[in-house]
Amino acid sequence: MLALDIFLSGLVLGGMYALAALGLTLQYGVARIMNLSYGEFLVAAALGSYSLYAGIGVSPMVGLVVVMPVAFALNWLIYRILLMPLVRRAKNRDVLEVDSILATFGLLFVVQGIALVIFGGQYYSFSYLSIPVSVLGSTVALNRLIALLFAAVIGSAIYLSLTRTRGGTALRAVAVDPVAAGLVAIDVKRACAFAFALGGALVAAAGVLISMFLTFNASMGVVFTMKALIVVIMGGVGNMLGALVAGLLLGVGETAVARLLDPGLTLAATYCLFLAVLLVRPTGLFGRQAR
């Protein structure tokens, strides 16, 4: 059935978008770092996954277990060394956002440069779990389905831990008002660093999963940063469920337009949807009202 087909492949595509955006919503929402180098870390993780797979035959699913902690540690270090000075001297969160844009813009070139030196500029691509799976009569690639499931599971898990656990609530408190959070004995610096690092681990996971089916090269980071940014803002900054829903919505919308109207209109449709959501709800689908 056409509608079901569109819905399912749209969900799978949207799953990829949501997966790519989960980390940024944490980094931007909680740590208030507008990380322009976000996509570079995704690509770096994808390249790392490729090296593990092509080099020593480690499957990306196993590679996840290796890459995520490494990415967590790396991003923790980046926050503490590169971004802490900015955090310390920022008078308020808007100033921090601007400063972090500039700093992470520079970081973008550093990461991209390192990736180019190690891997060169060429395309990398490998097929893993490129097996057709029949879901309710529609065919879906297994690797893309896994990306969707991972996004849904992790997104929901983090959302639940943010709302139901103490540590999660502390993170949300920091996102709402860091000064007040400090007054109630929440270690704000630690919380932000943790959020940033966790976002980094998530984007690395996204990179590894996406590498299973997408072709990538060291210069592709910006594409993912842009997509993640749209999803994050459309879903409401800092809201995991929002990012998930927005990503899925974009995926379904894009697929519907490609099948029912014209594939050439997909980009236009994506941005129209983005604009429409922001016109109706300026802070995003699940965003908080202006403080």
Partner: protein, 405 residues
């Protein structure tokens, strides 16, 4: 009077010095070759695999042999490289070329990657009088540009030639009763896809083919399954995708997942990359694409080994990379025949001479290389040229494409 005489003498000396043509600063110890190429940015991947690899092999081959033989120096002169990164940005490209010409004063300039960049570099290289061997450029404007810039040479054929070659092949298949007149075609909404699909639509109409599905998609689309599903529903035996490398790989992968295996399956740019075989292995069998090569030639096989040795194990693509290397062989032979670093004479030699290269003999007709390979196919683990069938080493088309494994 004494003072004014000295002054007049000094002024005359200055005028004479300025009026004389500049002394060739390079001397005869080294030939300076410059290039601006996309080492970063969206063009980096294509530039890397298609051009830079070939350039590196050529420089090594030339310098290993001692250099280029210059009669005016009476010996072989090694080649020195000056390289700039244009960052996939046309303004940077132009700045870099100007720098190479006016500041670094290089003897020869090698072209950048992509049709758009060769068009941008054209006027500058023309003004400087540098021979411009445009390899990675597929444009119908080539004949007109060759007239406007007589120092430019176009080696890959035009968009129309690419489309017509493919349509002719399909017409032959239809005459043999192997396929019917229905075609499903998708194209990337970028210069290449737009130009070639327009030419293809024209050619299909003239040959009485019906295009049952004709859609274009934006560059960078991350899921082409919707288009493939709709193409599949038309039941056309021929599927053509005028695609770029990331899309080419994705189309093949998603077609496999959907089990979409029409009798003729063509994905344009990227099919000739060794990455394609690496990723798909036995599933590459029977897939058609742009370009092609006489893969049986011993010269080409040696070139593949040399390329891998110089480029960290990366093999050349089976389309434009060997043509790039051949263009440099042409440059070297022209310089050697002229005997000195006289760019105008080198241009004339390239225009009129016949050259021996790894892809066979090349002779330009009105600055255009005729009979460039337009359609190739993976057969038995190697990518062979299929059309034009009159080219040396052309293989017959393996029909139909075997089912996905």
């Amino acid at each position: 009077m004494h003072g004014s005489f000295t002054r007049i003498l000094a002024a005359t000396a200055m005028l004479v010095a300025v009026a004389l043509p500049p002394v060739v600063a390079n001397g005869q110890d080294v030939i300076k070759i410059g290039w601006a190429i996309s080492k970063t940015g969206p063009y980096a991947a294509g530039a890397n695999i298609t051009l830079l690899g070939a350039y590196k092999v050529w420089v090594k081959d030339v310098n290993d042999a001692g250099g280029i033989m210059l009669q005016s120096a009476g010996k072989k002169v090694p080649v020195e490289i000056i390289e700039y990164d244009d960052r996939s940005n046309s303004e940077e490209l132009i700045k870099a070329l100007e720098r190479l010409i006016s500041q670094d004063k290089v003897d020869f300039i090698l072209p950048p990657w992509s049709t758009a960049f060769n068009l941008a570099a054209g006027p500058i290289l023309n003004r400087g009088g540098y021979p411009h061997l445009a390899v990675t450029a597929t444009t119908d404007r080539a004949p007109e540009l060759a007239k406007r810039w007589p120092n430019s040479f176009w080696l890959l054929g035009t968009a129309t030639e690419a489309a017509v070659s493919l349509v002719d092949l399909l017409t032959k298949l239809r005459a043999e009763g192997k396929i019917d007149g229905n075609v499903a075609m998708i194209s990337v909404a970028d210069q290449f896809g737009i130009d070639v699909s327009a030419a293809a639509r024209d050619a299909f109409k003239k040959a009485n083919f019906a295009i049952a599905y004709d859609k274009s998609y934006p560059l960078g689309t991350q899921d082409l399954q919707p288009l493939l599903t709709d193409a599949m529903r038309t039941n056309a035996p021929t599927f053509i995708a005028l695609s770029y490398p990331p899309d080419t790989l994705m189309i093949n992968e998603q077609a496999k997942v959907l089990n979409y295996s029409p009798k003729v399956f063509y994905t344009a740019v990227g099919t000739a990359f060794p990455l394609f075989k690496q990723k798909f292995g036995a599933n590459a069998e029977g897939v058609m694409g742009t370009g092609g090569i006489n893969a049986d030639s011993q010269e080409f096989k040696d070139y593949v080994k040399r390329h891998a040795a110089v480029n960290n194990g990366m093999e050349p693509d089976r389309w434009a990379n060997p043509v790039g290397y051949a263009s440099l062989q042409i440059l070297q032979q022209a310089i050697e025949r002229v005997g000195k670093l006289d760019r105008a004479a080198v241009v004339k030699e390239i225009q009129s001479g016949s050259f021996d290269t790894i892809i066979g003999p090349i002779k330009f007709v009105d600055n255009l290389r005729k009979n460039a390979w337009q359609v190739g196919q993976w057969q038995g683990g190697e990518y062979y040229g299929v059309a034009p069938g009159s080219n040396a080493g052309a293989r017959p088309l393996a029909f139909p494409k075997p089912a996905w494994k």
